[in-house]
Symmetry: C2
């Protein structure tokens, strides 16, 4: 390999000649010393064996983004976006020592992998914790809501991005929607299904689209991710009406019982599909509380209703039951749930019904067992996702004023953040 005129640095746009063929791209940090890693214009990271490279020249060098102390420097000219790194695959890179994934721990590492977003905005990196999302709890949601609330109430900040693990991202999105009242700016959550340092990672499109969404006028909690398995554009999904629906596909997050807010591509073209809360001058009200004495329970055939006793005796205050069909449980024979539900409700437990089918809306009025459930005090949550219902119930019970049986029910049935879609038609999935 010929010596280049300028020593290329991570972030430089370079041109190389590999086996006689020219390739252009941005130089990334490579974890293999024998490989030169380029991010091509199409977003793919490709590694080239150094021995195959006959020429290498620096085409351009981005303006400096790091100060002398190694910290990221703000241009002072671009819009400020607060970027919360919380962990997950998107914040991980392959550890060459173990072969497993390890965390990208600071903004400089982030810059090395995603240089584009630093050109669009002045990114202020925050990392309150680094976790896989399945390890996160309501305490993390509360911490994040408080921090993001501060960012949103900072006049300098144009929007917020949160990078997050995929597994339970929809729970965090739902929690932030309830905890950040009177939202004034976009709060964008994003992810990747393959770690960012791998070729064909989905992170680049998701992050660039997230930056565009964070600068948009959509003042909502938005989950941004691949709309399909191509790398064309992302959906902007409503945070509490979305679910991880595939173990590995990049378009794993699907809108449930509503349309996406819209779509956005890497060039920043935003197209909206429906109404949304517009960017405004509100002061965000941070309602960051949660009572973790709540349960999410999936009902299955022949299930013994004694499980309700277990949770009541353990001190749980409320339960979301994923019922079958339009809202059913066993209503005859030895495992009849109706008497047991009546009993635990009588002893002060709050019982809510959500749809096990995921899509569609509960309706207690079609069959007599549904009517009976409603008569004994089970509250039906229409088209609200069970996961959203779980988060909402913990949130509602977390506030003293909403903790009475009537006030809890009223709050659960109030459309706080679009968790009910009254306009849902039969045709929508």
């Amino acid at each position: 390999m010929k010596k280049p005129y300028k020593k290329p640095e991570v972030g430089d746009i370079v041109e190389i000649v590999v086996n006689g063929k020219k390739e252009n791209g941005r130089l990334l940090e490579s974890y293999d010393r024998g490989v030169l890693l380029l991010k091509l214009d199409n977003g793919y990271n490709i590694g080239f064996k150094k021995e195959d490279i006959s020429e290498l020249k620096v085409v351009s060098t981005p303006p400096p983004t790091t100060a002398d102390d190694g910290k990221l420097k703000l241009s002072g000219k671009k819009p400020i976006v607060d970027f919360y790194l919380t962990g997950g695959t998107i914040s991980s890179k392959l550890d060459p020592k173990t072969g497993g994934n390890t965390w990208l721990i600071d903004g400089r590492e982030l810059f090395k992998v995603y240089p584009e977003i630093f050109e669009m905005c002045d990114v202020r990196i925050k990392s309150p914790f680094m976790k896989a999302s399945e390890d996160m709890s309501n305490k993390d949601w509360i911490r994040l809501a408080k921090l993001i609330g501060k960012s949103l109430n900072d006049d300098q900040v144009k929007g917020v991005i949160v990078s997050h693990g995929t597994d339970f991202l929809h729970y965090t999105a739902s929690a932030l929607g309830f905890m950040l009242g009177k939202l004034n700016k976009p709060v964008v959550l994003t992810y990747s299904q393959r770690s960012s340092d791998r070729g064909s990672s989905d992170s680049r499109l998701n992050l660039v689209c997230s930056a565009h969404a964070a600068l948009s006028d959509i003042a909502e909690v938005i989950l941004v991710g691949h709309a399909n398995s191509d790398d064309d554009y992302c959906y902007m999904l409503q945070g509490n009406k979305v679910r991880k629906m595939h173990t590995s596909r990049r378009d794993t997050f699907r809108p449930i019982n509503c349309k996406p807010f819209g779509k956005v591509n890497a060039e920043g073209k935003v197209e909206t599909f429906r109404d949304f809360n517009k960017r405004n001058k509100n002061k965000v009200e941070v309602n960051a509380f949660f009572d973790d004495r709540v349960v999410l329970l999936k009902f299955y055939p022949g299930q013994n209703p004694e499980i309700l006793d277990y949770y009541r005796k353990k001190g749980y205050k409320g339960i979301i039951i994923e019922m079958s069909g339009l809202g059913h449980v066993i209503s005859e024979g030895k495992n009849n749930w109706i008497p047991k539900l009546k009993e635990v409700i009588g002893k002060g437990m709050f019982v809510y019904a959500a749809a096990q089918t995921i899509y569609g809306r509960l309706d207690p009025f079609v069959y007599s067992p549904g009517r009976k459930l409603q008569d004994i005090g089970v509250v039906f949550l229409g088209d609200m996702l069970s996961e959203t219902a779980f988060v909402k119930l913990g949130w509602v019970l977390g506030k003293k004023e909403w903790r009475g049986s009537v006030s809890t029910k009223n709050k659960m049935l109030e459309n706080v953040n679009g968790e009910f879609n009254k306009r849902l038609g039969l045709d929508e999935w």
Copy 2:
């Protein structure tokens, strides 16, 4: 209303003049004496006020299908199909007294509502029980498997249809697939989302297509139902890779992690999409057993793993956990599931992982917690649906020879009835 020449009877093809306009259709039993109910050629049931009808004449009368004692008479010329009425919306009709749904209790009633299938085949009606599917348990699956086994081993019988409630139809379909070994003929399960006596019920297309499927060469447990929200054709879905995905849509059953066997329309045009087990001369082996000491558990954020102790102490032998992502649970902090899983596995409980995302395939090798779960003895079930896994585990534990820890695992990982799709690609949903 003019007196017709022949007194029209239920099942007759009639022509009426309503407010000057001609309508043709098959006369159905009407539960309102002031209304004449017709099934039009497009499958819709429409009621006309008798006072608006100026003419009524019988166009044709189907050959008699009832014997003098009121029982259905077989023609002796058409293929025999055994039809199991088990309950559900498809077997219900509106009770004019209560406004609720009540059961269609015998074959004559069925004939009044679905005359078409009696023209295609000699239908032998069986009704072992009438239940909403959420009230069914493994005892009903066993009973049904034994009865259907007899039908299938009767040389006269061409195929079997089971009409069933929608809520947990996919569980029954899965159970029959495991319990009916060496399947020789089609076993078709079908349903409706609106009761059969209502205008715009989805039952007509589902039933006619089911009859065609029952006469086809596909010797599989097939779930037949609307492929989309139109009334054009039905899918023939694999019974253990299907799930009710919408509370109310007629195309609620979706194929999960595999293609449908094919599609079929009301005219009997069958188009297959993939391999299937062909009609054959096997004697069906009825393996109708189930150990109900099995649990299906959905994992959620912050969930306390003590629930595993509860089930173990209650005497449950096996548990299917719907894990997040590629197969994860909390693996740090106070609610770390790993030590508790290790403990209950050490005490003899069988723990299996299925995908909470529904779509896709588990993979314990991508992240270290997945590898750890596998190390402590959690068995990952790939792309098998959690509902299918629950049924399969109960079935496996129901047989003494398969109850040891190694034999259970081997049987759970054996592809008994196509519950694993090894060819599943990333592109399939």
